[in-house]
Every structure is written in structure tokens, then in C-alpha cells.
């Protein structure tokens, strides 16, 4: 692996390749900011390859750069498996690879494929926390709406599972529209679906759970002045927009999906591996990050605003 010129303090300056599913996503972009910030602080040059939310494009980009000199790499695959081939080539060259968020390859074959560590949040737990709060707020009965992300996205699938785990315990809760409605993370589709589902019911709908804040925030305007005005809306992501939504009362709660931690820790752990010359067996296979629930009552709202601030990039 490459070792570059030494930075201030005589410390080696490192070079790392990062890629995430797509920088258009607000969540992904925050992770980018975190990696860049911490890279600056820790003397790691981060080169970013945008997956543009297109597996093929991401694959092409990564393929083109695996032969360059990197000290370590951290990838969030747009889809599990698509980066397996290039990662194997990195393994052959002995470059540590970190899997961020979405699994790079299926879990049993992680090490075999050349992935050192998986750094990820627990999507199911996020959804569970958020849904549990929702259930408490609506008193365990009534109608709820479930707006999903992309049906093929592993994070979304986990969130669906988490939601169902909790709702399954409340027999008096009915999911409107026959179950989850997959909306591909697209705000317009979510909004159209949400609007239409609102028409379905003549009595007020008690709550709604969204797989991310952006979709939730695009849908809450539909509630103002309608018979569903009291609806309890919870979601996942808990970054600035979502936190503001909680503060302003648009969202009842949101689970923090700690993008800064995912991307920042990947960078931090990666540079430790390289600088300490750690061996692959010395590092754990998996680091699961916490995903605190934020609501008006939880008391951590201000803390989360501080941590998620772009100047800090801590959660």
C-alpha cells in the first residue's frame, strides 16, 4: 500500500477512497461531509466516488480506481454484491476495505471477499424505536400508514421488519392500504400515495411511519387543516431536517440514523488500522452503531442538533 509524504507532526498522510450510494441524497451527503471533515483533522486525503444511486455507475467508478494507490477504502454499496469483484482485487493487493451501512457482500462471505469490518447501524432497531414511540402515542390502536423506501434496499427491508415486529404486538392497529407502500425514497411518490391513502378513511388516521425523514416531511403538509391533523408521524434519519421537524412539531419522533458516525468511524477506524498496522484478525467483523430516538420528550434534541451540526459531524 501507498505511503505518502508526511504531514504536520511527522505523521504520515494517508489516502483513502470512499464511495457511497449517491450524493444526491441528503443523508448520504452528510456522511460525505463527516468523512471530509474528519479526514482533514486526521490527515487523511479522502477521494470520493459518487454512486449516483446507480449500481452500474458505482461499479464502473470503483472498478476504474481499484488499481490506484490507496491506504484503505470504505464503500457503501448501492446494492449488496455489486462491488464484490473490485473488492476482491483490493484484497489481492492487501488494501483494507470497510463496508459502510449496506453490506458489501453477504455477511458470511465478508472476510472471504476482503472486507475487514462492517460499520453499520441497526435499521430494524431504528424502525422499532420509532414505531414503538408511535404505538405509545396512539395508544396501541387505530389506523396507521406505512410508507417504505425502495423494496430492494436492505436497509428498507430491515426497517419494514422492525415496523412489523412492533405492530405485530398490537392487534388493534390496522395498517391502511393493506401494508407497506414502497415509494422508492421518492418524495413525490410518497406524497401521492400518502394523499390518496388519506382519502381512504373517513375517520381520522392515527399515525404514520416513514422510512426516512425526507418523505415524511414532504407528506406532513397534507395534514394541515384536514381531519387527520392530529396524526402522529414518526420516521427515521434524525439529521438536521428531521430534528427541525421534531422541534417544529411536524414529526413526533425520529430515530437517528447516524450517518456521520458511519462515515466518520469508517475513516477513523481505517486510519487506525493503517497507522497501527493492525492485522485483519485483530479487528472485529462488525461494529453496530447506536441509533437514539429523538422526540420532544426524549430530552436529547439539543444534543443531537449539536452533534449533527455540519461543523461537528458527530452523529
Amino acid at each position: 500500500t501507498a505511503s505518502q509524504s508526511t504531514g504536520e507532526g511527522g505523521r504520515q498522510r494517508l489516502r483513502a477512497a470512499f464511495s457511497s450510494a449517491g450524493l444526491q441524497g441528503t443523508w448520504n451527503k452528510l456522511g460525505y461531509d463527516a468523512a471530509m471533515l474528519w479526514g482533514d483533522l486526521l490527515g487523511v486525503e479522502v477521494v470520493w466516488f459518487d454512486g449516483e444511486f446507480d449500481g452500474q455507475k458505482q461499479r464502473e467508478k470503483i472498478e476504474l480506481i481499484v488499481d490506484d494507490d490507496w491506504d484503505f477504502c470504505a464503500f457503501q454499496a448501492h446494492q449488496t454484491g455489486i462491488l464484490e469483484e473490485p473488492v476482491k482485487r483490493l484484497k489481492a493487493r492487501g488494501i483494507p476495505v470497510i463496508s459502510m451501512d449496506t453490506l458489501l457482500v453477504e455477511r458470511p462471505r465478508l472476510r472471504e471477499a476482503g472486507v475487514w469490518i462492517e460499520i453499520a447501524p441497526d435499521h430494524a432497531a431504528m424502525a422499532e424505536a420509532s414505531t414503538r414511540y408511535l404505538m405509545e402515542k396512539i395508544g396501541g390502536k387505530g389506523k396507521v400508514i406505512h410508507i417504505g423506501g425502495e423494496s430492494g434496499h436492505s436497509g428498507a427491508q430491515d426497517r419494514e421488519r422492525g415496523f412489523n415486529n412492533i405492530v405485530g404486538k398490537y392487534p388493534e392497529v390496522k395498517v391502511v392500504g393493506g401494508g407497506v407502500r414502497w415509494c422508492n425514497w421518492k418524495t413525490e411518490i410518497a406524497r401521492n400515495t400518502f394523499d390518496t391513502l388519506l382519502q381512504e378513511s373517513d375517520e381520522p388516521i392515527a399515525g404514520a411511519f416513514f422510512h426516512n425523514d425526507d418523505m415524511a416531511l414532504a407528506c406532513t403538509p397534507a395534514l394541515a387543516g384536514s381531519r387527520h391533523e392530529k396524526m402522529v408521524v414518526t420516521a427515521v434519519d434524525g439529521q438536521k431536517a428531521g430534528l427541525t421537524g421534531v422541534r417544529d412539531g411536524l414529526l413526533a419522533a425520529t430515530s437517528v440514523n447516524p450517518t456521520c458516525m458511519i462515515h466518520g468511524y469508517s475513516l477513523i477506524v481505517g486510519q487506525f488500522i493503517v497507522r497501527n498496522k493492525e492485522k485483519i484478525d485483530e479487528v472485529p467483523k462488525q461494529i453496530i452503531l447506536p441509533s437514539p430516538l429523538v422526540s420532544k420528550e426524549s430530552g436529547n434534541l439539543d444534543a443531537m442538533f449539536f452533534l449533527s451540526d455540519p461543523r461537528h459531524c458527530l452523529v
Binding site: W182, T187, Q199, L217, A218, P221, G225, S226
Partner: protein
């Protein structure tokens, strides 16, 4: 030789080709009435109006482009760009301030629209001047618009003026419910204006003739190049307007907006019966196309007896069935 059927305006108005798109729409309405118990309600119509309005605005402008036998691939991203610039200006000029001064707000809305005009003008001039198909010029413009939006917003979620949120979400109420959304009224205005321009102004006629036979129009003294430029400007302007309305509906702007707008808008125009080859069609047809498309989407959401993973398959099957029935009836006539 003369027979009333071909000379009377009434018969001509109800030409088989004109009715065809209505057939598809009717088939869909019947289907959903049977398949979704909640379909036939005022609320559904309101929902359709609300969901269709962005599409209607954008499709109206696109109709001009298709009528003159060109295409504009940049509509979706022009819409995005317009909304993003609006959000960015809002953040800069108004920021978190609770009041929105009238003049500043107007500027926040008008500057992005003006930038869309410029974008359309550029596409138009480059298309005419390079003599390349508008398909690839506007493709490049699409990349430019999307890239600019991304660079400008740095993938952040941006707020937009309150007035847009009202436009996108509110409407004339009746019994405590929004019945006629403002956005639908705006869309209706755009459609009517488009119809009037196309049917009752010289410019509109030139659009048809430029699309119908460009050489003939040129030889008759029509400046076909300018017509093409104007159509692309119109389409960029309506796209920008659509983008603002859409952002208003979502109450903020993010980069994932308007991703499907291009295909949907072209589909609406063609579904209505406007030809991709120019010269045939009109705004009335586009309105029917938009209604058909939106009814399809709204109706399908209301069907609850189907697994969500099969919904898209059903969309395809229902659309195909409506088209085929349309085909059968057209044959009969």
C-alpha cells in the same frame, strides 16, 4: 361526392382519433370503480387534480415542443433546477427570517423562472444552430441542469417561500376540505393559455406547420428556427413553474424531486394523442393524457387487495388493457 360527414365541423370535431384517448380514460374509470370501492368520490377527484397539476403544467409546455417535431429531455431537470435555485435564493435572501417581504419573495420566484427561460433559449439556439437533433442537445442540457442543481444545493434540503407551500397544498375549501386545489387552478390556467396560443394565435399555427412540414413552413416565410427556439423556451418555462409547484407541495426542495417527470410528461402528451412526429395533437389532448395517467396512478394506490410488490405489474397490465380496448374500438369504428 360531398357528404355531410366530412364537411360538417361537428363530425370532424369528433373524429375517431380524437375520441381514442377518452376511451382509455373511460376504461380506467370503469375499472377502478369496480376494483376500488373508494374510487368514485369527490376526494379522489381532488386528489387527482392535485397530483396531476404539476404534470399538466409541464406537459402543456412540452406539447409545444412535440408539436413542432422536437423533443425536450431537460424538462424534469429544468424543473429541479428552478426549484433548487429558488430554495437557494430563499436561503440567501430571506434565510430563517420569519417574514417574507413581498419584493424579495417575488424575486426569489422570478429569478429561477427567468433562468429557466435562459436555459430553454440556450437549448433552442444550440439545436437550431448546430442542426443536431434536439434530443441530444436537450440531453446535454438535462445533465447541465441536474449538475447545476446538485452543485448549487450541495445535496441539502432547502426551504422555499411559504407562498409556494400554500399554492401546492391549499385550495378552495368546501366543508372544511380542500376541493379545488390552487395548483389545479394554476394548471388549468396554463392549459387554457396554451390552448389559446396554439389554436388562436399565429404563433400557434406556425408551431403546427413547423412540425407538420418544416420545409413548407419555411418556404411560406415562417421563421421555423425561431419557432423551435420559442417552443423550447416555453417548455423550459412551464417546466420551471412545475418544479416550483412541486417543491411547494413538498414544502421544500431536495435533489430527488422530478426524477420521473420527464418520462411521465412525455407519456401524458403522447397518451393524449399528440404525435411524436409533429403537427398533430394539442393541449386538449394533453389534458386528457394527464387525466388518464393520473387516474391510473391514483386508482392503483386505492386498490388495497393487492400486494404492494405486485402493484406495478398491475399498473402495466391495466394500462395495456386500456390501450388495447381503445385499439379494438378504434378498429370497429
Amino acid at each position: 361526392m360531398s357528404d355531410l360527414s366530412n364537411s360538417s365541423p361537428f363530425f370532424r370535431r369528433w373524429d375517431a382519433r380524437d375520441i381514442a384517448p377518452l376511451v382509455s380514460l373511460a376504461v380506467l374509470v370503469v375499472f377502478f370503480t369496480l376494483a376500488a370501492p373508494n374510487f368514485l368520490k369527490v376526494a379522489t377527484i381532488t386528489a387527482i387534480l392535485k397530483q396531476g397539476s404539476v404534470l399538466a403544467i409541464v406537459a402543456a409546455g412540452l406539447t409545444f415542443v412535440l408539436l413542432c417535431a422536437e423533443i425536450d429531455l431537460s424538462v424534469g431537470m429544468a424543473a429541479l433546477w428552478c426549484a433548487c435555485l429558488c430554495g437557494w435564493l430563499y436561503q440567501r435572501w430571506i434565510g430563517g427570517g420569519s417574514s417574507e417581504p413581498f419584493m424579495t419573495t417575488a424575486a426569489v420566484l422570478l429569478v429561477p423562472l427567468a433562468s429557466c427561460l435562459l436555459l430553454g433559449f440556450l437549448s433552442g439556439v444550440l439545436t437550431v444552430w448546430s442542426a443536431l437533433p434536439s434530443f441530444i442537445i436537450t440531453l446535454a442540457m438535462m445533465f447541465i441542469a441536474e449538475g447545476s442543481s446538485r452543485y448549487l444545493t450541495q445535496s441539502k434540503l432547502l426551504k422555499i417561500p411559504e407562498v409556494l407551500a400554500v399554492l401546492g397544498n391549499d385550495g378552495l375549501q368546501s366543508g372544511g376540505r380542500v376541493v379545488v386545489p390552487y395548483s389545479a387552478m394554476l394548471a388549468a390556467g396554463v392549459l387554457v393559455a396554451g390552448h389559446v396560443v396554439l389554436q388562436h394565435t399565429r404563433f400557434g399555427r406556425y408551431v403546427y406547420m413547423t412540425g407538420g412540414n418544416r420545409e413548407a413552413a419555411r418556404l411560406a416565410g415562417v421563421r421555423t428556427g425561431r419557432i423551435v427556439v420559442a417552443c423550447l423556451v416555453i417548455s423550459a418555462a412551464t417546466a420551471g413553474l412545475g418544479g416550483l409547484v412541486n417543491a411547494g407541495r413538498m414544502t421544500n426542495v431536495t435533489l430527488d424531486q422530478n426524477k420521473d417527470l420527464l418520462l411521465s410528461a412525455v407519456a401524458c402528451v403522447v397518451l393524449g394523442g399528440t404525435s411524436l412526429f409533429g403537427g398533430e395533437g394539442g393541449i386538449g389532448k394533453t389534458a386528457i393524457g394527464v387525466l388518464t395517467f393520473t387516474t391510473l396512478n391514483t386508482g392503483l394506490i386505492q386498490i388495497t387487495w393487492i400486494n404492494d410488490l405486485a402493484r406495478q405489474l398491475l399498473t402495466g397490465v391495466v394500462l395495456m388493457a386500456a390501450l388495447v380496448i381503445n385499439g379494438v374500438l378504434a378498429k370497429r369504428r
